[in-house]
Subunit: 409 residues, 2 copies
């Protein structure tokens, strides 16, 4: 029984990836600007870190053989030769029977091969009593133990997180080659769609999908300023917009086409583009079904549903992985599912993987999952949901109290 | 049995939050710049959306009573009065016995109260046959069903995600008041620490924590350009740096003090600051134990461990929630744990909550969790880990094959 579910659209998408061209252009950026960027080179270490053995504790540097058999009853008694300071190379070595105080991170003096922790010692000037025997190398880091010269530190294609930035800094690598961000053109389509800052007539509605998609992909990609942002349901307008976008963008997304007529228009326009093909038309998920995945000249064109909830689910489950692939990432972001208990009975169409917007009550164990009362177009419930509960295609619904997998939002 | 674990440092931290001042300054930003920002006002809707009833399907607008008893054998036969176009207010109404074609999203004409899906109809000009009866309201969205005038759309303190941006755009709200980002001053301390772009002498090491912390908190906060970034182990230098930082920053973080002497210095300097108090000194976690959580004049001072892995764990488990609190967030980011099976036996100190760096093999079910061979200071394993396996304080380790909770990285 698994506790994590990685629903892997990457596997579903693998067969189509070869149709797409990935970003190959690179740019050099400072590690301070590299967070979230995708590494375009293998990074190798050029040195051993530490270069000399170091102590991992506060204590006394010793020849381990001098402590053999030491115990509280029969302590080893060593002559203290001074102190090592952090950040300095010890100026003296130790001879048999000698010891030096060493702080955590201090370099071992010549002659020492281990460190006795301060807890097991007592200084009785000029001697130090040691109550425990230490093995060779004990409480030390050996040269290259942290990083070995020539080792692969971070492979190409890695999305750089804070931890990687720390490692790069530690290894003295302050600029890295990353892939240029993919340029993404985002359109909304439909005669009924008006810009967010307008007061629509009753038959129109404001564009929710454009701003939402820009926020979703604005981190990993560079959102292009396209004009017009909203394309009317006219063949010429759509053709012109897509052609112009394909000249400057690496990825084109358009949402809308909630009616069958508009979807047909989008499909027909995409088919008319140079070197194009519709790779998928429709996903077996709900919401999100009327999704078109296409290619033109190696560039992805995603036709996302018009209803914001459908658009969101489709963009998340399909769009994210396609964008990551184009961007040069060697790893697809896994979707994290948790298990909970559904509070009320729900129905679902068989043959369709259904994603219900739900509220999650984490105070119970397992968490209680409550479906929100929704309709496909309801934007508010999408914003308020804690997660998307997945009803697998083979099920016709869930009974109250049944276990359910939920993707956290 | 729970499948998700929210280890809640927020609960541990709750008792100290009242010691801290939260950001109150706000700024007005466009929704296109608002992703990831924290909302500083309750957002209410100012209108009903949709303002008029709309169809949720492609089909025919009808008076529902006209379809009563309709079936494939006894279809209702209605006179087609024309077509409604998307984005337009219908110019005509329908009378009993009449119908109009309506696309998804189209406004219902006066007189119609439901929509018959196109799948259950056949047009036999000038009539349309309907094979199914529809209930009043069926396949329509009622006025205000998506958004009701005056309703609370998004509460103050919400971290704005793509879904919220979409909702704001849909509701016609194009600028929002957000909290100013907290200004964070990040220092590294220690005589052995040198900048990442230098070639350290053998006793020194480059600063991994500063760049790592900047990447961790650069999204939610504004990282200040402080000078010097690296503070030597000298009382005067540390006092001066902290005092200057507290004049301009909302939060001060310093990492380092791997030796007990430096830690004592940090504690003593913090105590000497105006209106200051050490709130915690040491966490029962490993790595991450030597963490100092303090306050001066309502501002958090976090003394994080020097070892990068310890610094990371402490910053993640404690720092994140403190920064979110100061930033004005009404919700603490939960930490997501999954369950796996540990591959090899591990030991752990009782009384300490231990976090092991692990690789996770998701191809097995449940996932297989393999501890990496680590030492506290090893920066490389931190960068390469897939997760942190948690050994609870009451355990002295785990046997191979035992269940383990893992925080995903």
């Amino acid at each position: 029984m698994a506790f994590l579910y990685l629903v892997s659209p990457s596997e579903r998408l693998t067969p189509i990836y070869h149709r797409y061209s990935r970003i190959e252009d690179t740019e050099e950026v400072s590690i301070f600007q590299a967070s979230g960027r995708i590494l375009a080179e293998d990074i190798y270490s050029t040195e051993n870190i530490p270069p000399l053995p170091r102590s991992t504790v506060d204590g006394y540097a010793v020849k381990s053989e001098d402590t053999m058999g030491a115990s509280p009853e029969t302590p080893a008694m060593l002559l203290k030769k001074g102190e090592i300071h952090i950040g300095e190379i010890p100026k003296e070595d130790i001879a048999p029977g000698q010891t030096m105080y060493i702080p955590t991170g201090g370099i071992l003096p010549e002659g020492a091969d281990a460190v006795e922790m301060i807890e097991y010692t007592e200084e009785i000037s000029p001697y130090v009593e040691m109550y425990r025997s230490v093995a060779p190398g004990e409480n030390t880091v050996q040269p290259g133990e942290d990083i070995k010269e020539g080792m692969l530190l971070i492979p190409k294609g890695t999305k750089l997180h804070a931890r990687h930035i720390g490692l790069l800094a530690y290894a003295g690598i302050t600029t890295v080659k990353v892939y240029r961000k993919p340029k993404i053109a985002i359109f909304s389509t439909g005669d009924e769609i008006v810009p967010p800052d307008s007061y629509p007539e009753p038959g129109k509605m404001r564009d929710a999908n454009g701003p939402m998609l820009k926020a979703m992909f604005g981190g990993i990609g560079e959102i292009l300023d396209v004009s017009p942002v909203i394309i009317p349901d006219k063949r010429e307008a759509m053709e012109k917009a897509l052609k112009e976008a394909l000249n400057i963008a690496d990825i084109v997304m358009l949402s809308g086409g909630s009616s069958a007529g508009t979807r047909d228009l989008v499909v027909s326009v995409i088919k008319s583009l140079p070197d194009s093909e519709i790779l998928f038309h429709g996903l077996r998920i709900s919401p999100g079904k009327p999704t078109i995945v296409a290619v033109s000249g190696g560039k992805p064109i995603l036709g996302l549903p018009g209803h914001p909830a459908s658009c969101f689910v489709s963009a998340k489950l399909i769009g994210t992985n396609i964008v990551e692939y184009i961007a040069g990432s060697n790893r697809q972001t896994p979707f994290v599912f948790i298990r909970g208990i559904i509070k009320t009975e729900v129905y679902s169409k068989p043959g369709i993987e259904e994603y219900l917007r739900v509220k999650i009550d984490f105070s119970t164990s397992p968490p209680t999952v409550e479906p929100m009362i929704t309709q496909s177009g309801i934007t508010y419930t999408l914003a308020m949901a804690d997660g998307l509960a997945r009803i697998p295609p083979e099920k016709e619904g869930l009974s109250a109290g049944e276990e359910v997998e939920v993707m956290l939002l």
